[in-house]
């Protein structure tokens, strides 16, 4: 069974169609990269999986998006619970204006967890998972804004991990980071794969090649090609894919 499946998904912002009949199936414990030129609908598609698009007025969606075999747009779905299972990391690091500790504890607290010891342990494991512990363990009570951009982004990943989702969505998570921080995050993604199913949007072809198992190429709201990353980059079936990955695009 697939972890995530989208069947005949159409999506509209008001009158304009942003996604056209998207069919993708994603297995557990894999990394899937979404690539394509700006405005092709990658973020829109990614944000379907945790129903983040629901915040926008006047949208319409048809087709099915299944996670663990359940239609997440079906009746009786609790969106808050869905989002606890499907974590998200954003393009720009967006820690809360709170302490480092409280940032990671936030998801636990809104889940109604009160046990102090449990929260402390979970915060520590999550920060260790993103290899940030040694850098912040002495300043957990300091504002998260005192961290560098790269550290902030890893903190945001730790924040998402703390509530133990099974899926993690990442929308260009390294586009605001320097090369060293980027390398750290990529390494992290590779390690997280063992426990989570990851979907990542990226503009960086090398990054897609390095971290992902499968890649989906979007163009103008359509899914042009979806295949194993190696195949898609070395031997694309579609000419449009070929043009895009070789940078010959117009």
């Amino acid at each position: 069974m697939y972890k995530i499946e989208s069947k005949n998904v159409d999506f509209y912002y008001g009158p304009s169609q942003a996604l056209k009949n998207i069919n993708i199936a994603i297995r557990s414990n894999t990394v899937t990269a979404l690539i394509g030129p700006s405005g092709c609908g990658k973020s829109t598609y990614l944000r379907l999986f945790n129903r983040m698009n629901d915040l926008i007025d006047d949208i319409k969606i048809s087709g099915q998006v299944m996670i663990d075999g359940e239609d997440i747009y079906g009746k009786g779905i609790n969106v808050d619970s869905l989002r606890k299972n499907v974590g998200m990391v954003f393009q720009k690091p967006n820690p809360f204006p709170k302490t480092i500790f409280e940032n990671v504890a936030y998801g636990l607290r809104v889940n109604g967890i009160k046990d102090k010891k449990f929260i402390e342990e979970r915060v520590e494991t999550s920060i260790k998972q993103v290899v940030l512990w040694d850098e912040v363990k002495d300043k957990l009570k300091k504002s998260a804004f005192e961290l560098s951009g790269g550290q902030q982004q890893r903190l945001c990943i730790a924040r998402a991990l703390a509530i133990q989702p099974s899926v993690i969505l990442m929308d260009e998570p390294t586009s605001a980071l320097d090369p060293i921080s980027t390398a750290k995050v990529e390494e992290l993604i590779y390690e997280l794969k063992a426990k989570y199913t990851i979907v990542i949007v990226t503009h960086n072809m090398q990054q897609a090649g390095r971290v992902s198992d499968r890649t989906a190429f979007f163009y103008l709201g359509e899914l042009v090609e979806y295949d194993e990353t190696k195949k898609l980059f070395t031997n694309p079936k579609q000419e449009r894919t070929q043009n895009y990955i070789t940078g010959r695009f117009g």
Binding site: M52, L55, D80, G107, R109, V110
Partner: protein, 385 residues
């Protein structure tokens, strides 16, 4: 540039004028000009404060011992009482002998205190003229009574007015803040764009309604309602003032808090929701903390409006200048006092100057409020970078 410096200059001139007139109060004696207060020349008492004088004439002080004299009871005398002591013939047809009568009267009664016009003061007056203290800062700020027309000595305690003002404003903000906050949350986080586009101008319109209309509304609807609900003799109370002012402060609070909440970065809201926080959790854990300075600025500006408001309050609070001890008692605020009394005063007189001094107090309160808002919004700007 030119117009703004003209504006500032005008404001400075007004403030200077206000303070010049107001401060003049403390050079004056609270006794009506043209009158004297006389006692027997053997009386040990040489000075009385304005409050003591009033209490003597209100017969709350009945013995000289209470003001530092002998153990005898005080004999009150006002000009009307003269016929109890002298016949019309003795005084004379044109009151030509009144001066000497007064002199003899004060001389003959050791415990008298007499309050009469100084034109009846004989050249060889056989008594002591009492010194009355000038109005002091302490009398002014700590005095518990505001009776500027009291005779023989005006009572200029502004404490009841200051407390009345703060009382009504505090009540207003306690009512308006939760309501305003709820409305702001609704408009910025819950209502969809269409509802918002209708509500926003409506609320801004509320801010433009003349205060007399609010006062009228308060008088016709809220005052009778309070009277009936609490079974009071009159419904004109501090509570009525608080409600009317609260309603008037609402547009300010809603508009400013709503703007602040809408300024919460989308990224913050999304981060919270993406972690499985519900909409309400996001509102009180992220959006309200993030916009707290804007909300406080809205609240304080709301109070600012309430404190300076005149007409509506004048119409619904009952205007009794006593220290309020319950929200269901009538109160009187500083602006209402100035508005109601300034027309009756003589230019440059004691009462007139006292009202200007009140104006100064009001000015300082609002200045303080505006500086607080300035401080808070500066800090807010600071936070965002």
């Amino acid at each position: 540039m030119l117009s703004s410096s003209i504006t500032s200059l005008t404001v400075v001139l007004i403030v200077v004028f206000l303070f010049k007139e107001g401060i003049g109060l403390f050079n004056q004696k609270p006794v009506e000009p043209g009158y004297v207060i006389a006692i027997n020349k053997n009386n040990k008492v040489k000075e009385l404060s304005s409050v003591q004088l009033k209490n003597i004439y209100d017969q709350k002080i009945t013995h000289w011992s209470e003001v530092g004299g002998t153990h005898d009871s005080i004999v009150l005398f006002q000009l009307e009482d003269i016929s109890n002591y002298y016949s019309d013939e003795q005084i004379g047809d044109n009151m030509q002998n009144l001066g000497s009568c007064m002199s003899r009267l004060v001389d003959s009664l050791p415990n008298i205190i007499a309050f009469f016009p100084d034109k009846y003061l004989d050249k060889k007056f056989q008594g002591t003229l009492l010194e009355v203290d000038k109005v002091t800062l302490h009398d002014f700020f700590a005095g518990k009574e505001w009776i500027p027309t009291a005779k023989p000595s005006a009572q200029l305690g502004v404490l009841p007015l200051i407390l009345g003002t703060l009382w009504v404003s505090l009540g207003a903000i306690l009512l308006a803040l939760p309501l305003g906050l709820a409305a702001a949350v609704y408009m910025s986080e819950i209502a969809n764009e269409r509802v918002r586009r209708i509500m926003k101008p409506l609320i801004e319109l509320l801010a433009g309604i003349p205060s007399v209309v609010y006062g009228f509304f308060g008088l016709v609807i809220i005052v009778p309602l309070i009277q009936k609900t609490f079974d009071l003799p009159v419904g004109e109370t501090g509570l009525a003032g608080s409600i009317v002012l609260g309603i008037m402060a609402l547009p300010t609070i809603i508009t400013i808090s709503e703007d602040a909440m809408r300024n919460t970065p989308r990224a913050m809201k999304e981060a919270s929701l993406a972690l499985g926080a519900s909409r309400w959790q996001t509102i009180y854990k992220v959006i309200i903390p993030y916009s707290i300075s804007g909300i406080s600025a809205g609240a304080i500006l709301g109070i600012g409006r309430a404190i300076g408001e005149t007409m509506a309050v004048l119409m619904v609070t009952g205007n009794a200048a006593v220290i309020p001890h319950s929200i269901l008692a009538p109160v009187r605020t500083i602006p209402a006092t100035i508005a109601a009394e300034l027309g009756e005063t003589s230019n440059g007189g004691l009462h007139y100057k006292a009202l200007f001094a009140l104006g100064c107090i009001l000015f300082l309160i609002t200045l303080f409020i505006n500086l607080t808002v300035e401080f808070i919004s500066n800090r807010q700007k600071h936070n965002k970078h």
